[in-house]
Subunit: 210 residues, 4 copies
């Protein structure tokens, strides 16, 4: 059920996707600066010149990766749909989901993060379009819990950033330590539970509370 026109558009869209995937793969493997257009053309099985029919420049590829894969945030959906669960369940689901995602997409994620840090323009866009909404939801969640006295009165901005940062930083350390580090042998489920406990109860024994 598609006119000639629509068919053509579908094929065009497929091509764009194919190129973008190849670019992301190569960028993740070698880094943006070290990756070359011939590399990408090889990975995609598409001629160098053709890439330029779909994307204006190497940098355009990078930006398109961001707008396709990063600046659209299915993650926010997750946050929205789970706000009504009880805290332990919500947190451990959230954490497990993010850990799964992180471990699965490590190279890509850290390549993207790396570029975000390098490029001020991307940084601002990422800050506004990704971090902003996500941290916003997290803050709203924390705020409601503090308001209902489930959580202690804390500096909400900061705790939101510490929680988000802890996920990213934990993955980062796991990645640097590599295959031989202790992270690889941890079970994802157990990790999520333990982390949830840590976030909720901290480190102290109950009786030591100050």
């Amino acid at each position: 059920m598609g006119t000639r026109q629509e068919k053509k558009e579908r094929i065009t869209e497929q091509r764009r996707q194919q190129i973008l995937d190849a670019a992301l793969a190569v960028f993740s493997r070698k880094g943006y600066g070290e990756a070359t257009i011939p590399d990408i053309s090889l990975e995609a099985g598409i001629a160098v010149g053709t890439i330029y029919n779909y994307y204006e420049s190497k940098r355009d590829l990078l930006l398109s990766i961001f707008s396709t894969y990063v600046f659209t945030q299915p993650f926010v959906k997750l946050l929205e749909h789970t706000l009504e669960m009880d805290d332990r369940t919500f947190l451990s689901l959230l954490i497990e989901d993010r850990l799964d995602f992180g471990f699965e997409n490590m190279d890509r994620f850290f390549f993207l993060l790396s570029e975000v840090q390098r490029d001020p323009e991307l940084r601002q866009q990422y800050s506004q379009e990704v971090l902003g909404p996500v941290l916003g939801l997290l803050e709203k969640y924390l705020e409601s819990r503090v308001a209902s006295r489930v959580f202690r009165p804390v500096n909400i901005s900061m705790v939101a950033r510490v929680l988000g940062g802890a996920m990213i930083g934990f993955l980062l350390l796991c990645r640097i330590e590599g295959e031989s580090g202790p992270c690889r042998s941890m079970f994802r489920k157990e990790l999520a539970t333990e982390l949830t406990d840590f976030v909720l109860k901290g480190l102290l024994q109950s009786e030591d509370r100050t």
Copy 2:
């Protein structure tokens, strides 16, 4: 008050430093791959050829930055000297120190981290010479506290990495959000206290313990 010979050596050392500083500055600004030797020569106010009188190659500059600024760890000293304090004091001192250091050296720190991630050789060296010792000390600390029942029994490897990762991740998010983010207006002291509380007590009100 030094011989001719000593004077010359001092000047040579100064030059090396001057070049290394310029390289670090440029690398931090543009990333290793995007930085050029003329960039560095301009930043240092030194001719291109002179750089090569002091360093063998661009990569040698990178490695020298690491061995000068990264693979020497005054930080470990800090950890060793504070193990005997009470926990709240120790943690908040540690956190404050790391936050201070992180905010002061953000661009440099994340450039270095970025390269560590890109370069497998650096990654392994960093893992062994920096992360290993630091996480080791943190684990020893946690272990002793758990043994003396001050801390709950937790997965020590994981908590060590979550704590370390939280610091890094928090700084990372602050950096991405930039000057206009909420981090910049937080007081360092307050931050440290709040974070310490979070680590020790978690989020729950005492009476809500599950």
Copy 3:
């Protein structure tokens, strides 16, 4: 009359040739070390980058020149086909042919010889693949003549090298003396005859034989 594919290959081959010719011309004029890639690109009327689409490096150009022009030896054919002639005819044909070739290709020949001397790898290859076979045939020829008592019993190895060397050395001196030297005004035919006589009869008058 060729498929698309064949046409492309022909053009590619032409380009390779065009570049190689330009390289040989420039190398012959300035020497390998003093020649630059821009020089060659100018001579060929081709962009610098294009040269690198056909040859891996400057050195690859040099080696390709050798394998194209030097390490293929039509000369050996000549030697083989003339072994049955009478000596005077054979020698004067051989000498004339080599003189013709030498005078025609002087600059190129001495550039190549010069590089052979400079580069140990080329030297060995040249020794094995060019000098070896050529001197071998010459020795075989001398040996048969000595065996049949047409020639005096001589040190065959040495005489072969003296004969070959005399051709090269003669050309070399002609080249150094240049256009104004006496060589340029000699007739090639006469030269060959005279040289043949010299080789066969030496300098002495018949009656002066010692």
Copy 4:
């Protein structure tokens, strides 16, 4: 018996010599283009800057080598003093002397020859100041022998160049064939005798004369 002034001049002359020797050694080893001034300064045990107090440029070093070692011709002396000997003795002495000299100074000689070929200016100078006189003497010698009917009537210009060229070419081939070639195992004395015989009597048996 030298004033202060003379002493200084002697030291200066020594320095010039020391530098020139080092330059010749390095040039012969690596070729003019590949040799660097620091190489020469190392070989001479003299600072880079000092070299420039004695010679204007790298090229000046090359030209000075020529005017010191090449464009002064002790060889001509030899030719002059032996004109009265009998031919066989004269020729074999001459040949032996040149072979000795050639084998002893191969690298230097062929480096110089190589530069002569590369550089038109040097070429002309060499032609006029070295080749000219030497070939002139040889021609004079041949001429007198032909006049006195000891030698056959030959094209004197050509034979002179063939004789000179044969020496150079023979050495050249020996050099290219290297240590493993047959030249290295020949006795110098025997070589000279054989070569003399060849020059005087040619290759034919007496009775085969055509």
